[in-house]
Structure formats: structure tokens, C-alpha cells
């Protein structure tokens, strides 16, 4: 436990004396990123507010560098912890520079005047988030992405050992989401700042976090590394999504597969099938897909969207039995779609299926796209 920087001890959080989530026991090392995931209203913000002392704890305590958060004054805590909140800053007539400079608050004198060192630190913080050119802009007149960077600079400027962010990527487009998370990652690794945040994007949470906490309403259902957490058996019940809908490799989900007897067969491979699968899903047409090697990129999506998938082990020719099964299923279909993908030695059997379909007159050849 020598490296533990942040931990909670039997922390119970809630409102007005009523516990919402009880007995939270987690620990983080210095420079680690912890992400809280879970459905809306599950209590992610409540936990974050309790850690930041905005909300009185119902029971237990949090410890920052072995200092009890309950026992610390706001002033003491402000020198260790900075926050980026979801609430909109209502400040009027403030430049971005002014907003970042408020991060120096715990260090300035009684009147809050900035020393030359303070000013240098403000500019350094703005440069670290690539926002130096925004210094003289009106804070209310910048974009959402710029605003989040300024608020992060404000937090960095406070020279904290730990930063707590509540849904920092909400309202950001995908490029700005990536930019912000990249900044956080760099900050955690280079400056050793511990990060605790909540995210809605489970795909990004998987990629940016060192530790993940699943918040499911009454309890912390799981806590651990992303490898241990991002599994269908944990993610699907956490968010209450249908079994099989969550894709571990991509961290993404697909819409539910169409139901019914498949009348369409998709012969595909090497990613050429994915757009066809998704189009058929939108048209609510159940389909079979095959013959896919289990390392084919089409395979995980076919597993999620196709009524039936015919598969073969990779790096070897397709076995005769699989071919027969696929052929039988193909004969039940009135449309066979063939996408554009390479056919060589190991998947030579697919060429035979195409020939059969042509004979039956159900073949429709497609390039990539419709």
C-alpha cells in the first residue's frame, strides 16, 4: 500500500442523511486515472461531490495522501485538489485568462493580487492545454471545446495533486473529446497528477483509464482495471442492455439484431460485410452471414447483428461440414448478397457458394456500399 495516493474507507454517500451508495472502498496510485461509469442517475456525481467535499459524507471518509478529506479545511483541500464541474460558470466580463487565474486563489495574498510568478504559472497552464491564444477572449464567447480546455487549465493552475472532473466530455464533439482525454492522459503521466472523473463514453473510458469503477445505483458493482471491467458480463447488466450487444474489442454497442427467419444471406469478409449488416438491421431484415474466419473484422459485428453466423477457425481452409451447413441455409434464402472481398486458398469454399447462388438465381453482387 506504499504507493496509494487516494483511497476511500467505507465511504457512504447520499443526500440529506440518506445513504445512496454505501461502503465504497477503492484506492488509487499517484498518476492513475480512475473513471466512474454507470447509467444516468446511478450516483456518479454524488460520489464525486462527496470526494470533493461539496457534499457531506453519510459515513466513512476519503483520504488524499493520507489526509482525511472530512478533517481538512476547504483551504487545505484546495491546495491538493482541483475540480472541473458540469455547472456553467456564470461569470460576466471575464477573460479566459481571468478564469484560469482563479486557480491561483489558494496561493495569493489577502487581496488576491497575482504575483509575477502567478502570472507565469497562469500562462504555463494555458499553454499546457494549447489555449494560450485564448487568453484575452471573453470566456462566455468561446466554444464548448475551448471552454473545457480553459477549465482544465484553471484546474492545472491550482497545482493540485489530484483533479476531479464531472463528465468533462459532455457537449464535446469527438475531436474535442479525444483532445481533452489526451491532455488528461499526458498530465497524469508527466506530472503525476491523479485523475478521478466520470464518463458516459464507455469506449473512451476503456482507452483512457487505469482503473474503472462501475456505479450501479445502490452499490459499486465492480472496481478494477479496464481489462477486468470491460467484459460483456459486467457492462451489459450495468447499463441494462441486451446480452451480446456490447462489443469488447471496439468498446461499442450495436442496435438490436432483427428477429425472424433469415431470408437473406451475406457472403462477406475483411470488413466488407459491416456496412451491409447495418443496412439490413435498419431495414429489419434478419440475415445469415458467412463464412467468416473468427479473426475476421466482420465476425464480431456479424455475431451481434446476424441471425446465424457460419464460422471457421483462422489460418486453415474452411472445413467441408461448415460449407454444407452454409449451403443448406443459403438455399432457404431468397437473396444472397456478395460483397467485394478477396477469395484465396483458405476461403476457396466461398467461391463455390457464390457459384451455387448464381445457379439458383438469388445472387446480388455488391461492391462496398449499396
Amino acid at each position: 500500500m506504499a504507493n496509494v495516493y487516494f483511497r476511500t474507507a467505507d465511504l457512504s454517500v447520499g443526500y440529506q442523511g440518506r445513504a445512496l451508495i454505501e461502503n465504497i472502498n477503492i484506492s488509487l496510485e499517484k498518476g492513475e486515472i480512475l473513471t466512474l461509469i454507470g447509467p444516468n442517475g446511478s450516483g456518479k456525481s454524488t460520489i464525486l461531490k462527496s470526494i470533493t467535499k461539496h457534499l457531506a459524507t453519510i459515513g466513512g471518509d476519503s483520504f488524499v495522501a493520507d489526509g482525511s478529506v472530512n478533517a481538512m479545511t476547504y483551504r487545505q483541500l484546495s491546495r491538493r485538489m482541483a475540480v472541473v464541474l458540469t455547472e456553467r460558470i456564470r461569470g460576466e466580463l471575464l477573460t479566459c485568462y481571468d478564469v484560469v487565474a482563479t486557480g491561483r486563489y489558494p496561493y495569493t495574498n489577502t487581496l488576491g493580487l497575482l504575483s509575477p510568478e502567478d502570472r507565469a504559472k497562469v500562462m504555463a497552464a494555458m499553454e499546457s492545454v494549447h489555449a494560450a491564444e485564448l487568453a484575452d477572449r471573453d470566456f462566455t464567447a468561446i466554444s464548448d471545446g475551448q471552454r473545457q480546455r480553459i477549465l482544465l487549465a484553471r484546474a492545472i493552475c491550482q497545482e493540485p495533486e489530484i483533479i476531479v472532473l464531472d463528465e468533462p466530455t459532455s457537449f464535446l464533439d469527438i475531436a474535442h473529446k479525444l483532445e481533452l482525454l489526451t491532455l488528461l492522459r499526458a498530465m497524469a503521466k508527466e506530472k503525476g497528477i491523479t485523475v478521478i472523473m466520470s464518463l458516459h463514453e464507455i469506449d473512451l473510458a476503456q482507452k483512457v483509464s487505469d482503473k474503472v469503477m462501475c456505479v450501479s445505483g445502490e452499490t459499486i458493482s465492480h472496481f478494477g482495471t479496464p481489462e477486468a471491467i470491460f467484459r460483456p458480463e459486467i457492462i451489459e447488466p450495468l447499463y441494462g442492455i441486451a446480452p451480446g450487444a456490447y462489443n469488447v474489442a471496439f468498446g461499442s454497442v450495436e442496435l438490436p439484431a432483427p428477429t425472424g427467419t433469415p431470408r437473406t444471406f451475406v457472403l462477406c469478409g475483411c470488413g466488407s460485410g459491416i456496412p451491409v449488416f447495418r443496412r439490413l438491421q435498419k431495414e429489419s431484415r434478419p440475415f445469415c452471414a458467412g463464412i467468416l474466419f473468427t479473426n475476421d473484422i466482420d465476425y464480431p459485428v456479424a455475431r451481434q447483428l446476424a441471425a446465424r453466423v457460419f464460422t471457421a477457425a483462422p489460418f486453415a481452409p474452411i472445413p467441408e461440414a461448415v460449407y454444407e451447413e452454409a449451403l443448406a441455409a443459403m438455399k432457404q434464402c431468397d437473396t444472397v448478397i456478395v460483397t467485394d472481398f478477396p477469395i484465396a486458398e483458405t476461403n476457396g469454399k466461398v467461391a463455390a457458394l457464390i457459384a451455387e447462388a448464381r445457379k439458383m438465381g438469388t445472387l446480388r453482387e455488391e461492391g462496398i456500399g449499396p
Partner: protein, 346 residues
């Protein structure tokens, strides 16, 4: 780039200096002008002699020292106080149109002072300045208590102001009722006062309110740092180390004390608390408390001196109530602010 309402770090000090210099010049000019004008005209060299050497003919000396100077100091100090009180309430409620008058704080003070005077005068021959201040402070806190209570159940800021205005009407109605049925000879004075006026300020009063307002103004200035943090919102202020609960109590007490003190001596004065901080922020192009606080104080002084001059001289010898004039100048500022806020952002 859209038109930015803020300016660069480097151009700021020059602007601040210009605004402060302008306010100080206006203050000096209005002081002289106010002494100068009235039913008895006194020339500027005579004023200088009267003020600095206490020489001159007895009538002029008497008019300046007994009538005009106390009144000028009252307008300046109490006007500055009102602007500060408004600024504090705007900070507390995070609402630019909060102020001692619209929230009913002034009217609460007025009611308490009127009651105290009418009741006390039956038992004692006169009411001291301190008693007035104390009862005004109590009234201000009482009204503020009502506003805060309604704020707890009313989340919408506009509704909070409506509640404040209702409190103000109730207090004013009760005050008028009490004054109408009181039998004292002081009623005439009380009536002028209840409409808001700087006239009849005595030197004893000047000493009392100058001490109180000066102490409060220094306290507000020392709060510039947490006020700046609080402008970002309660949660951010707390994360910067501000003890928000304690800070809020201090804000309430200070703003009520200032508003009460002003009302005790000059009656309720409208719109100064809203219009002045707003105009000052526009002039300075910043909301930084460390410059806005002293500038608002000066601005309030200048604004009230100007309004008092108009109230005194516009229809002389009939005197207007000070609120009539401040409303005439202040209300359009507030309306312009509302239009800009709701129309401009689109």
C-alpha cells in the same frame, strides 16, 4: 471573432486609471456645484474660504456648514454605501438586478424605523441615530429573511425579485398606514424621509453613518478575493478554499447593515444599488471585485450627488424626493441591461 466585451491584460491598468480619475473629478466637481447652488448663491472662491478657512459672512458660513455640507456628505457616503450593498446582493444571488430596493430590504428597514420612532417617541423625547440604525438593520435582516425563505422554495430568479417587490409593497403599505395614524408632530419629517431624502442631515448623523459605512466598505474591499471566487459559482468557490457557508452569512449581514444604515438616514432610495455597479462594470470592462468595489463606491457617491442636485434645484423651491430622480436615471439603465441580456445573446 465576435466583438469582445473584455480587453487585453495590458490595456487594463490604463482604463482603470482613467475611470477612477474621471470619478474623482466628477465627485469634486459635483461637491463644489452642490455647495454653490441653491436659493443662496455662493461663489467658488467664497466656498474655498468657507471650507478651508472657515471665514466669510455668517449666513453663507451657516448655510454651507449647517445645511449643504452635511447633505453633500450624506449623499456621497450613503450613495456609495447603496452601490456596495447592491453589488453584494448581486454577488449573493448571482443576479444582476438584485438590490436593496427591489428585494424589499430598504422597505423592511423603513417599516422598522417608522415603528421604532412612533413607539419610542411616546416614551423618550428623541430617538438617537444609533437606535435608528439598529432598528433599520433589524428591519433589513427581517426582510432579507423573508427573501431567503422564498428563495428556498422559489428557484427561479425572476420570481425571487417578484417576491422582493411584494415584500416591499407590504412594508410600504404598513409604513404609510402607521404614519397616517400617528399623531406626533414629527410626522411631517417622517413622511419626507419615508419617500427618500438627504435633506435635514445633522452632523451627529454624519459621524454615525460615516463610521458605519466606512467600516463596512473596508470589510467589503477585504472580501474582494472570495467575492471574485464566488462569481464563478458556489461550487468552484468552495473548491478554491472558500468556506461558502460562512461567506454567505457575511455577505447577508454586510449588505443588510449597509442597506439598513442608508435607509435609517435617507429613507429608501431606488435603483442606485442596481444601476451603479452595472454602469461601473461597463466602464471598467471587467467584473473584478478589487476594482469594481472602490469604483462602485465612488460611482454611487457621484450618482447620488447628481440626483440630489436635481432633486433640490429642478423645481426649487419645491424639492423632489431623491427616489424620483434616481428612478428616472436608474430604471432605464436596468431596462437596457435586461434587453441586452435577453435579446443580445440570441
Amino acid at each position: 471573432m465576435g466583438q469582445s466585451t473584455v480587453q487585453t491584460e495590458k490595456s487594463r491598468p490604463a482604463r482603470y486609471a482613467a475611470v477612477f480619475a474621471g470619478l474623482l473629478i466628477a465627485l469634486a466637481a459635483l461637491t463644489v456645484w452642490n455647495i454653490n447652488s441653491g436659493s443662496v448663491h455662493i461663489s467658488v472662491p467664497d466656498i474655498a474660504r468657507i471650507l478651508f478657512l472657515r471665514q466669510g459672512d455668517d449666513t453663507a458660513l451657516g448655510i454651507v456648514w449647517k445645511l449643504r455640507l452635511p447633505r453633500i456628505i450624506a449623499a456621497a457616503v450613503l450613495g456609495g454605501g447603496l452601490a456596495l450593498s447592491g453589488f453584494l446582493m448581486q454577488t449573493f444571488f448571482g443576479n444582476p438586478i438584485a438590490g436593496p430596493f427591489v428585494l424589499g430590504i430598504s422597505s423592511g428597514s423603513k417599516l422598522c424605523v417608522a415603528l421604532t420612532m412612533i413607539v419610542a417617541l411616546r416614551f423618550v423625547p428623541f430617538v438617537t441615530s444609533w437606535m435608528m440604525v439598529l432598528s433599520a438593520f433589524a428591519g433589513a435582516l427581517l426582510a432579507m429573511g423573508f427573501v431567503l425563505l422564498s428563495a428556498r422554495s422559489i428557484r427561479q430568479m425572476s420570481m425571487l425579485l417578484v417576491a422582493g417587490i411584494m415584500i416591499s409593497y407590504i412594508c410600504s403599505a404598513v409604513t404609510e398606514f402607521v404614519i397616517t395614524f400617528a399623531r406626533d408632530s414629527d410626522i411631517v419629517n417622517l413622511h419626507t424621509w419615508s419617500q427618500g431624502s438627504f435633506s435635514g442631515t445633522k452632523w451627529e448623523d454624519v459621524t454615525v453613518f460615516t463610521w458605519i459605512i466606512a467600516a463596512c466598505a473596508v470589510a467589503v474591499f477585504l472580501l474582494a478575493k472570495p467575492i471574485g471566487a464566488y462569481q464563478l459559482g458556489e461550487s468552484y468557490a468552495q473548491s478554491m478554499g472558500v468556506n461558502v457557508k460562512r461567506f454567505r452569512v457575511v455577505l447577508i449581514l454586510l449588505s443588510s447593515l449597509i442597506a439598513g444604515c442608508v435607509t435609517a438616514f435617507a429613507g429608501p432610495i431606488s435603483f442606485v444599488g442596481i444601476a451603479v455597479p452595472h454602469l461601473i462594470k461597463l466602464l471598467l470592462k471587467t467584473a473584478k471585485p478589487i476594482v469594481v468595489i472602490p469604483a462602485s463606491f465612488l460611482g454611487g457617491a457621484v450618482f447620488c450627488l447628481l440626483c440630489d442636485y436635481i432633486a433640490r434645484t429642478a423645481f426649487a423651491p419645491v424639492e423632489l424626493s431623491i427616489s424620483t430622480v434616481t428612478a428616472l436615471f436608474g430604471a432605464p439603465v436596468v431596462i437596457a441591461m435586461l434587453i441586452r441580456r435577453h435579446g443580445g445573446r440570441g
